[in-house]
Symmetry: C2
Subunit: 209 residues, 2 copies
Amino acid sequence: MDTKATKQRILDEALTLFSEKGYANVFVGDIAQRVGIKAPSLYKHYKSKQAIFDAIIEEMNNRFIAQAGALNISGVDAGADADVYKNIDEDRLVKMGISFFEYYLHDDYTRRFRKMLTIEQFHDKELAAVYSKQYIDDPLSYQGMLLGLLVAQGILATDDIGTMTLHFYAPIYLLLTVCDREPDRQEWAEGTLEKHIRQFNKIYGRSVR
Amino acid sequence: MDTKATKQRILDEALTLFSEKGYANVFVGDIAQRVGIKAPSLYKHYKSKQAIFDAIIEEMNNRFIAQAGALNISGVDAGADADVYKNIDEDRLVKMGISFFEYYLHDDYTRRFRKMLTIEQFHDKELAAVYSKQYIDDPLSYQGMLLGLLVAQGILATDDIGTMTLHFYAPIYLLLTVCDREPDRQEWAEGTLEKHIRQFNKIYGRSVR
DNA sequence: CTTGACAGCTAATCAGAATTAGCCTATAAT
DNA sequence: ATTATAGGCTAATTCTGATTAGCTGTCAAG
């Protein structure tokens, strides 16, 4: 009974192709070939090419809901640890930023989905909203929460957590888009990222004002 | 003799459409219609749809070369003014960031071109490189130069101009992508931008270390 | 005046791609 | 054992959209 497997593989291969060429440049035959079946057979699983796309979007919604739960938990953990390890603040911060970056960069599903949305974001308002939510607003609010904890603990100082969070996240976002576009620059990005976070820590760290 | 005019209008209308729907979703008939001619007539001006796209890329190269000259001059000016107006440092910085942002956001040609590249950036390495150059590396190096002047004048302080520039530019870039995607958020972006720059100034301003 | 290139048009042509029709086999439930 | 269904296949079908052919009017150079 790998009917579900096939149905899933279609989504998977379609996502890969959509993320590389964009929806319009992918033919159902391409998807089918990758799955190992013929184009018409796809229609036993999905009503149309568009339905495949829609299913991908929906699947992602589910994943993100699940993932949000997971991240929240890890976020709370990070906060709980804080009191204990005050002496390794900077490294913790670096680690937080880098692990966020690496996760977004290397998690295959996340990466392909992000690239697909990048290509399709101007297609309609709904996709635009999904993009902004996933890659701008949610990260800002999530990391804002984490950084807020560090502020509450006196590890970081600012009177505007929102802007501070933007300062933390915007470079991460920028570097991520560079790596999506030019994987060759990953090493450069990682180095730049670490310098960014260390400087961020110097700037907002309690030591300075 | 508006043959040149027609040829130019084709590029212009094509750019508009490509920036909204992406190359693959635009039909030569659409472009022709906007120009006010029939599809086959386009071929009197360009060999193929691809040739239109290529011409757009090339035109942009020329514009950017011209523009680079212009920006450099204005950059030097900004530096020259600096000694005189030390008392309005923050406002100058805010103005610099905002005017950069507003220019990129509102200049019609720039905006359409950027959106088109956003959609097509994964198509091949060349386009990827163009994107990174135009919207990442060149802005960083240009603004790095300007900020470098302010550092040299003792208005800003840092031991890592590159990272400081990233801190200055990354939020601008992020907000720009939001506005391209959701023009409704422009007002929010402008407010956020100003807060960003004021905080940036507080952080890197000579007053603090 | 007339000729040639230009820029437009209509009517093909040609190819590529999504989708449908209709057939076949395995398998799981009755 | 029988049958219904799922999931695959090949061979249409149908559309869409880029490009080409071939005609025409205009206009500037001679």
